[in-house]
Symmetry: D2
Subunit: 115 residues, 4 copies
């Protein structure tokens, strides 16, 4: 079967999440550079089609702890330092999605879907 | 509303496409190294949850032409050198997706969806 | 032979260039999002050891032209949209490096080296 | 001062290391997919100028342990799962370089330099 508008909207939402994560994972990051990275992630992914808004927060406490534990000055961006929310709109369907840690895994989820 | 299994299946399919594209875009590639890159892309993304199969072909003619046009020995991987097909299975729903060029844009699409 | 401080300084400079390029190549970019991406690139790479300063300018004219030529709203970051300058300091040696296009290839170069 | 051939050779070696690391960090990897990823990394970076050879081994024990600790099926590629050796040749100068973990940091080093 061909997908419905809701299904395409969810597909598009997934593309944005995979893009955001794998484009930026591995970027050198510290508490001081976290804000500029979060803004760049938001604005980069908002360029993609059907992407209404992207909100990225860096979990600065977790970041600071990881850097201290490694006795380092910075670390590499990975899902455990991120909270992400996105809104996708496709043919009248709005999808709200989020990424947050579930244990050690950065779980990406469809939070809400409405016409 | 909460998403249906079909909608989640499409979301998961999108994640895999965004991941594949943005993890590997920019990789130095030539006709000689295209095969090892295609295999690595397939096996890397097949690790992700609900991902049954990934098939990547490098469009070697387009690659060869781009390298010749630039009078170079290699170029960087981008969507116009790729054909990708993926099968995602989530709670009994099978999603078939593909990526191919539409003009200058690497269009990712849900081809078929079935219970 | 073991490397001299100048040789290590040049090695470190090269690491930063390869990092910057391959971390961010492929990022969705438009004239509106170019500034936040440039700032994030600078601050991310400045985290790395021995890296005194990074200056990234996006060549907005080339970017605008590429987007117009493709009849698109954005494109993917690649070397032809970037001018980069970096200063590396290692054990009293200062290395100035740059990246700019030479024909179709983003040429990275050591501009100056001094004790 | 302009750089000597040895200094340029070291700069080129650094570029390859930064490229390899930041292109592939974050890739989904498991013991089963480690080999195809290692081959793709080698062949991709060998495309770059002056790069004679790249050898990548995945530290499968560390990888298996990390996946088990996270109660997962795969993880993301990062420096602690890699040993890398490269040989760069530039205008008669041969540079041997390596990357291995020093504590929690993936240390990239010039091992040997000869005319």
């Amino acid at each position: 079967m061909d997908p419905t508008p809701s299904e395409v909207a969810c597909f598009e939402a997934g593309i944005k999440f995979g893009s955001l994560y794998h484009q930026f994972a591995g970027t050198p990051v510290s508490p001081d550079s976290a804000d500029s990275l979060a803004r760049a992630m938001e604005e980069a992914i908002e360029n993609q089609p059907y992407c209404e808004s992207v909100t990225v927060s860096v979990r600065t406490d977790a970041l600071r702890q990881a850097i201290e534990d490694a006795d380092a000055d910075y670390t590499e961006l990975t899902g455990r330092f991120l909270d992400v929310a996105m809104v996708i709109e496709y043919e009248g369907v709005t999808v709200e999605t989020s990424m947050a840690m579930e244990g050690d895994y950065p779980l990406m989820q469809v939070e809400d879907l409405r016409d």
